[in-house]
């Protein structure tokens, strides 16, 4: 599973992308993945402390946090977008 991070989520976690090979069996949805991320250490705990403000895309499509995740998904975590002007 490829995970990508943008904006302050990237800054707080300290990485822009990574590949996760083995996730615990109970990590089945985006929300589960967020809970798991919180346990990874200070930067991750801080970045994911308030899941409500985290936006998610699965395979480059916006997704809700109750969406199931698959081993070969590309999952992105980022703040609400601010394009245009």
């Amino acid at each position: 599973m490829k995970i990508v991070y943008f904006a302050w989520v990237r800054e707080k976690t300290g990485i822009s992308e990574e590949v996760l090979e083995k996730l615990p069996d109970n990590v089945k949805t985006v929300a589960d993945l967020i809970e798991w991320q919180k346990l990874r250490g200070s930067g991750f705990t801080d970045a994911f402390s308030d899941p409500k403000i985290i936006r998610v895309a699965i395979n480059q499509e916006y997704s809700s946090q109750d969406h199931p995740i698959e081993a070969n998904d590309e999952i992105a975590f980022f703040p609400p977008v601010t394009g245009g002007r």
Partner: protein
């Protein structure tokens, strides 16, 4: 037509290209977004736009397709820059070409409203107080919601 690029764009040349040799076009409406010097009450020295390469194009393509379905347009153009930009620099160009003017105004407005709330861009502002990420505004979501309940045209 969609272009996501770091480099600046020449509005006149881009609009010429949009027009081409199509003499059935009666009007083109365009919107140019610029880096504003004031961020809240602070003076901005620069702004960095981060994007999600790949997803940006996909999302904007959907927005463009929706505009093309919704209005009778000849063509549309969306150029969005990323990277570090200074106050006064151009960020975004949106244009819509059609036989008649009304639809070009509406389509242009629609495109920029949706870019703002759907395209995966994030802005980091640099001021004398340091760097800070721009938060999304509720008013932008309201603008998009209004397009879902359009007035009859």
């Amino acid at each position: 037509m969609i272009k996501i690029q770091q480099k600046n764009f020449d509005v006149k040349a881009e609009l010429e290209a949009l027009k081409g040799n199509n003499h059935s076009i009666g009007g083109i409406c365009s919107f140019i977004g610029l880096v504003r010097e004031m961020a809240e009450n602070k003076k901005l020295s620069a702004m960095t736009l981060e994007q999600y390469p790949g997803m940006t194009e996909k999302v904007i393509k959907k927005i463009e397709n929706e505009a093309l379905q919704r209005w009778s347009l000849h063509s549309t153009l969306i150029i969005h820059r990323f990277g570090r930009l200074k106050p006064g620099e151009q960020i975004v160009l949106v244009a819509a070409a059609s036989a008649h003017r009304e639809v070009t105004f509406e389509a242009c407005h629609f495109l920029i409203d949706f870019l703002k709330t759907r395209a995966p861009f994030w802005k980091l502002e640099e001021t004398q107080d340091g760097n800070s990420w721009v938060a999304a505004r509720d008013s932008d979501e309201t603008a998009v919601a209004n397009w879902k309940h359009p007035k009859q045209v």
